[in-house]
Symmetry: D2
Subunit: 346 residues, 4 copies
């Protein structure tokens, strides 16, 4: 019977680039694989990549932070009891790390945030997870912690292993504010002449469009921590090609594009506070994924976490390439549609 | 050179089900293909599917609305001029439909919403797009309309072909409020005994968890029109398997789960106001996609739009299966992790 | 016993201005009363007012739209039944207006928006309410409509007279998108020289600060349809001085400030889509309120609604004065604190 | 000339209660002053107060946290430089407290949060501010800190004394997540019989309405960290009567109501994470304010901060009284309108 046959969905993939990257993680040019049904994405990212190669420092990609979170939900008799338990719990992070250590070699509990609502206590447990994006690692760690907490605090009872204050694959504000995944800022400084020659636009036009479309337009649409043209497209394609859990493009795409005219040139930045990527874990055993990660230089012998950090900054630089290219295209009436039509006919 | 070789990313895919569906579009049981790197998704959706088969009406999936939008951005001298132009434009929708008709046989302009901000005029053009999800169709229609508007209203100038008030692949409120894609409500009534036998839980436990986790937890996280456990997972897998632009899971996942105890049984509903799916267009020419759509009964001779409507309600029912199953699991301490571990070891 | 004595809270009030206003409602200069405990607000708004007097057209205040809403909540057996009822209801707006007419001479039903969630049907009833802000008028109209609907549609049952989809005095997106209260855009064009002389700043500095603080800063804070420095301050003071329900500053303050350099001068705009003000109704019978409204020219013999429209544009212009002044101050390190300290010592 | 005469806006005020309060700050019954143009508010809060007097523990009001924030904005050459400066700054909080100490005896720097966006560095400085709500105190402290930071880090330049990541009087998510003002949870357990006798309703009806109206309705409206019927009304009236900066009802009203049936009785909770109140500072010198604060027992000799904490829990309890009463009324078709009409005619 067909219904249970194992098969695969071969999503079209192409390598694009190379993209020139600098910053606090790597200094190198790399081509990137993008798997997508939206074929215009390839030339679009490709144009941004070519621009990066022509800029002195390429794309400067700075890793600001990294952590993975799982929020557990516990219940007390009332808010006062929840508060007393919380105050005690917050003093015992060392003990809690010992419990976490039983669940994984790599998980390190680095911070705890909380919300008390009525008698409910949400604990947002935040971890380092080595080279894994860490969904399972933190769920497992949370599972161990919740058992320990229920033993230590009999006045608390089980609510949920995940209380949605994590917050996984949802449009929320908490991830951008408290951090979830890799927080990467990608910046580029593009000479005015290059804007004209390669992007058919001017710094002023890009700045103007970014304000009116990305900042004002998204705001009027009731956007939440989001001001960009199409981060989701690049993220999806990059995540699929590298074996990531691509449902994380939901929070991944909540990022902000900035543009400024600096001494006549174009300063352009993409802020991606929630890149949830890893080089080990679910999806990584597949041959083509391993192959892609290896070509990206993300399967080297490095200290734990360093391969995933490299993957994150490459991803951020890729997003910048596509964002820059589309914004430039939209400064020119008609170019966007022409580009689409040509590609589809071609 | 490797960098530009065309290839594909074979995402693992499995058929799950069958799922029993009723409502205003179809009455039938179908198996569904899910392509994902997260293998626990298959048995999870599968459990929900089995429950649907054991319920009298299965999953009742009601199509509430459908439309596809593109917002253009125009500029006037000041707000007063923008308002005068807007008032005139709103009286000329018939003329505008004639312009749209030159761009496509299928695109029908059905409504226009707007925002004026300072001297900026955002027009959210809303269309029926037949069986296509309609991204390109509405961009093309908008391209024609913007040219016509600039001719008819010389006091307006070009801002952008897309002003982000659409709003495509972003976490915003506008899509849920004004509509974008298919708006589908999926509901099921599960006998108490079935909750116990198949889901190892009670209606009361599911209701309680839904309130505390999905409604309160997401709210505290700063969620935007979102209260669910993991719609994004099912959407991604369904979209990839059926050739959709999976970046649309960003708005697609902004939906609300409801649960109530009704006469001792469990009423459970998933609201998916922004399912952006089609049965023709980008991604649909691929062999495996065609094959999957055919098996889903979505490549039949029907009136324009009917195949895509069918796909949308199947998608919504699939989401419900996975949501129900995960919530039930989370009512039991430890079950979630055990399920994950078993699957990974198996 | 003290506990039930009737008394009053005498909030300090001062008249500020005059403010020069043009646009589609009035062309005149008026002083405005501001009641507040925050005394620095008076000189701050006063500085903006003086700038308005020195600009050729003063502040151009354009009324874009006006409406008052109340959302009722009804319940059906399931979403399919809710949809059928909705489709019928939407065809009967004329009958519904007849029902509304029994509740008030002034209330006019102008539009209905809806949300279906599971078996719930939220109807957002939108009205013109003459010179009243309209809270009670629309509640009364909704009360009549809900009785009529329950008679006409026995398949529907009562949920709530207000389903929070209105949305009154809450931080939501719906009001800005669908409209609630008066939607006013206030704009001014300030010569560069005036920026220097009166505001001690340059157009470039104001534009830069507006982008970084109001647009980016608020966005990063997880703001919702909001990008301004302190609309809430001016709104509170104006509302208290004119007998408005000042709790409506919650949605009133969700607005957007724009700034651009135009030919070397400063274009500055405040968008206030949710000004909920009236010249009749609760709070308006008080002597000082009547006196203030009369001085503002808002108790004249005009067609219904015209006095309230005038009040709304005066309010919007007042907000612009205060917003402009504070932003200008914040472009200069130290000026803000100095101004506060001087005022408090003086 | 009238335009600049100093006067006052005498907002009608009434004492309501007493309200019975317990919890971690006080155990006492107090009447509360409410200044408002909306006269139905008094009997509405009064009904809730009477219920509190009849419940064994009255309203349990738990202070969870308190802090006041100001976010400054600094600029670096690029994100990498901003990150290096940030990492250094975070290690020097003790030195920073010494700087803060020069600006105020009461201000204590307790935490720093941040956002890096492109080359921008937002620092959210969080303080204890004794009995003051602290707006001016933290602005003054931030002013001192910004000067010190610019001296110590010449690679940083001035952006703004307030970067809107604070976030003052705006609808944002940051305040609820990171804290601003007093975070108070108010809870009450109401016997079923009392629900019937005094509130004309049942626990089940209140719970049902709270889910459908406050949670679902607000969510569908695109609400942000908000699920209540009308916190803003009680906050405005309480703030005006006690000399608070009532514009802070914007964030103050972003709170969540919870309701549950517990052993047949009604558990009802109001979560108010952002009560920005003080017993000293702007507005407090006025005679009637002093008088009101004294009657509330908030001008006693206590350790710094204790009077303001007391004021905050009284405020939260007052909000609960009004919220409970309105929700109960809305469970009965027609009661709301009848109550309004009676009051206006009486």
């Amino acid at each position: 019977m067909k219904a249970h046959k194992i098969a695969s969905a071969p999503v079209p993939m192409r390598w694009v680039g190379p993209v020139k990257i600098s910053g606090n993680i790597m200094e190198e040019s790399v081509s990137v694989p993008l798997a997508t049904y939206e074929s215009p994405l390839w030339p679009s990212v490709g144009r941004g990549a070519r621009v990066s190669m022509l800029c002195e420092q390429g794309i400067r990609a700075t890793l600001i932070d990294e952590r993975m979170s799982r929020s557990i939900l516990l219940e007390a008799a009332h808010a006062g009891d929840a508060l007393l338990a919380l105050q005690s719990i917050l003093t015992r992070q060392q003990e809690m790390q010992a419990v976490v250590g039983q669940s994984s070699r790599f998980a390190k509990l680095i911070d705890i945030h909380h919300q008390i609502a009525g008698n409910l206590l949400f604990l947002r447990l935040e971890f380092r997870t080595g080279d894994a994006s860490g969904h399972n690692m933190v769920t497992n760690a949370a599972d161990h912690l919740i058992r320990w907490l229920l033993q230590q605090y009999p006045q608390l009872s089980y609510g949920s292993i995940s209380g949605n204050y994590c917050s996984d694959k949802k449009a929320t504000a908490v991830n951008g504010i408290l951090g979830r995944g890799k927080n990467v800022v990608a910046e580029i400084l593009i000479p005015r002449e290059l804007c004209a020659r390669r992007l058919k636009t001017t710094p002023e036009k890009v700045v103007d469009l970014n304000i009116k479309k990305n900042l004002l337009g998204t705001l009027l649409a009731g956007g939440l921590r989001s001001a960009n043209a199409h981060y989701a497209n690049m993220l999806l394609a990059f995540y699929l090609a590298t074996g990531q859990d691509a449902a994380n493009i939901v929070e991944g795409s909540q990022g902000v594009t900035q543009a400024e005219v600096r001494d006549g040139d174009l300063y352009f930045a993409c802020n991606l506070p929630n890149l949830i990527v890893g080089t080990v874990g679910n999806g990584k055993g597949l041959d083509f994924v391993e192959d892609n990660l290896r070509q990206l230089g993300c399967r080297e012998e490095r200290e734990p976490g360093a391969n995933a950090q490299r993957l994150a900054v490459i991803c951020a630089a890729t997003v910048l390439c596509g964002e820059l290219s589309l914004l430039a295209a939209q400064t020119n009436p008609g170019e966007l549609m022409q580009a689409h039509l040509q590609l589809e006919r071609g």
